[in-house]
């Protein structure tokens, strides 16, 4: 059976096409102002990649913050369920799933059958989400993609006093004035987000294996900080930002 999952994230929209449990097509667009239209474009691109037509897709499910605005989808599934469904399909030993997107961070405990036991969520504060790295890269005047590689070069852990992204921006500027190496500041930024995410993970009583998904899993600096703060390694799928959409496509198959 061919199914599709549409993840309407706060910043980006991801579409995954699944054929018999395999990801055969995927696409991502910036959500922008017209999220529904952006989703439509991503869907068309994903179908093209899979070499399929709209009529080939039997079931479509949506997820993500804007899941009610997804085109075509007959039903919607919570982000928590999709994250677990996608992660456990790739890593059957996963017991904790950490998902860090642009505006939300969450930690989920799950059973081996993929049932959600507990979860903790930050959706109120940019300090525990990808938006934090964007704000800090602006203050550091580097591209957000450069922040991770820069961070792993740091040899010196310095604390960030500010928790709030707005205050942290001023702190970064002060650190730059004080001639603190950018590498160390980048690491401090990732340590700060990691400590917020770990507090979510502690709330749910995290256990290995820990799978990390969401856009921030692409950031090697954050991954480094997170592993250090958790005290264990994390497993990262090759397309971490697509796992929510993948989980939705798998959920659509189940009906």
């Amino acid at each position: 059976m061919i199914t599709a999952g549409i993840d309407m994230g706060a910043k980006t929209i991801k579409v995954v096409i699944v054929d018999d449990g395999n990801m055969v097509g995927k696409a991502m667009t910036i959500a922008g102002f017209e999220a529904t239209e952006s989703a439509e474009r991503a869907y068309t691109t994903a179908l093209g990649e899979a070499g399929l037509a709209e009529g080939d897709v039997e079931r479509i499910a949506s997820t993500g913050a804007g899941r009610r605005y997804a085109p075509h989808a007959k039903h919607d599934v919570s982000e928590v369920k999709c994250a677990v469904k996608g992660a456990i399909d790739l890593y059957p030993n996963a017991r904790t799933v950490i998902d860090v997107g642009a505006e939300e961070g969450r930690a989920i405990r799950c059973t081996e059958d993929g049932n959600v036991m507990d979860f903790a969520l930050n959706e109120k504060c940019a300090a525990g989400a990808g938006a934090f790295t964007e704000a800090m890269s602006r203050a550091l005047e580097v591209k957000v993609e450069e922040l991770g590689p820069m961070s792993v070069k740091s040899t010196n852990a310095i604390p960030m006093n500010a928790q709030c992204a707005v205050f942290a921006e001023s702190e970064v500027v002060s650190l730059l004035h004080a001639k603190t190496p950018k590498e160390d500041i980048a690491r401090a930024v990732h340590d700060a987000i990691a400590s917020r995410i770990v507090s979510l993970a502690r709330k749910v009583g995290f256990e290995p294996d820990v799978v990390l998904i969401g856009g921030l899993a692409r950031n090697v600096g954050f991954v480094d900080s997170l592993q250090r703060a958790l005290g264990c390694d994390v497993l990262i799928p090759s397309d971490p930002e697509y796992i929510g959409a993948y989980g939705a496509a798998l959920a659509a198959r189940a009906g």
Partner: protein, 289 residues
């Protein structure tokens, strides 16, 4: 690039007062994270003040504010009998004789500025927001504070002034130029409120409507903090945001309590309280000598 967040720095001194004839000449210096103030008090009267942006160096900011307050008065630092440092940089005031917390100083300053009937002081500063309950002498009885998050602080308002490219001092007035009050934007995170506001602007909302939505979000956020300690009347607001009627009027509406007016600059409360504490300390010092 224009700096819309930049509020006017100010100084003032009372030409009527002959400080040379004064017995107790003291000062308070409040080095905040965003602004610094220096206040000089002569025999229980406000004599001079200066209020300016804090630079990257706290001792320097303290010195600059003090120098500016004294400009044109003929008074030198040596003429001041006792200096109290307060604010987040209070230990970095090189010429202070004692450091006192800003909570104590704000209550004391508000007691002077608004009168002894004040029981609740809301201080809306650059990077924090405090609710202080106090007695008729301006002594602190309880307080609650948010210094972790920019929502409900002056810094958050600066971010919005920049986003909308509107001078920060016009924000309050402009926020009332709406046909009807819009629902507030996200009140817990300035970063998220900013992206919401950007979306609303693209949707065609006029700037004044976006400001109205932000001012009411801020009022709501502060009201939550006030609930933690409760509002006993009389109620007074200090700090920079006290000058923003867009936030003040909406907050008054939400908590159904009016804030007392004052003839003083609301940003000087902390430094003024410091100068008043300094007066007691100087009196004690003179009597023991």
């Amino acid at each position: 690039m224009a700096e819309y967040w930049r509020w006017t720095e100010q100084r003032w001194h009372d030409e009527e007062i002959d400080w040379r004839g004064g017995t107790l000449v003291t000062a308070g210096v409040d080095v905040g994270s965003v602004s610094s103030q220096a206040v000089v008090v002569v025999d229980g009267k406000l004599y001079a003040f200066a209020s300016m942006r804090t630079g990257s160096n706290s001792p320097e900011s303290a010195q600059k504010a003090m120098d500016w307050a004294l400009e044109g008065t003929g008074m030198r630092l040596e003429d001041i009998g006792f200096v109290v440092g307060t604010g987040y940089g209070r230990v970095n005031v090189p010429f202070s004789n004692k450091a006192i917390t800003e909570i104590a100083c704000h209550a004391r300053g508000a007691n002077f500025m608004y009168g002894p009937s004040v029981r609740t002081v809301l201080d809306m500063g650059g990077q924090d927001c405090k609710v202080i309950r106090c007695d008729e002498r301006g002594k602190v009885t309880a307080f609650a504070m948010n210094d972790k998050c920019a929502a409900g602080t002056g810094r958050g308002m600066e971010v919005f002034a920049d986003l909308l490219a509107l001078p920060i001092e016009d924000v309050g007035k402009l926020s009332f130029e709406v046909e009807e009050e819009p629902p507030p934007v996200s009140c817990t995170c300035v970063v998220f409120a900013k992206s919401e506001a950007t979306a609303l602007l693209r949707e065609g909302w006029p700037k004044s409507k976006v400001l109205a939505a932000y001012c009411s979000a801020m009022a709501h956020r502060v009201a939550t903090l006030l609930e933690q300690v409760g509002v006993e009347q009389d109620f007074a607001i200090t700090g920079g945001i006290a000058k923003n009627i867009g936030v003040v009027r909406r907050l008054e509406g939400e908590i159904e309590v009016k804030a007392l007016p004052t003839k003083y600059d609301t940003q000087i409360a902390g430094a003024l309280g410091g100068a008043l504490f300094a007066q007691n300390l100087l009196r004690k010092k003179l009597s023991t000598n």
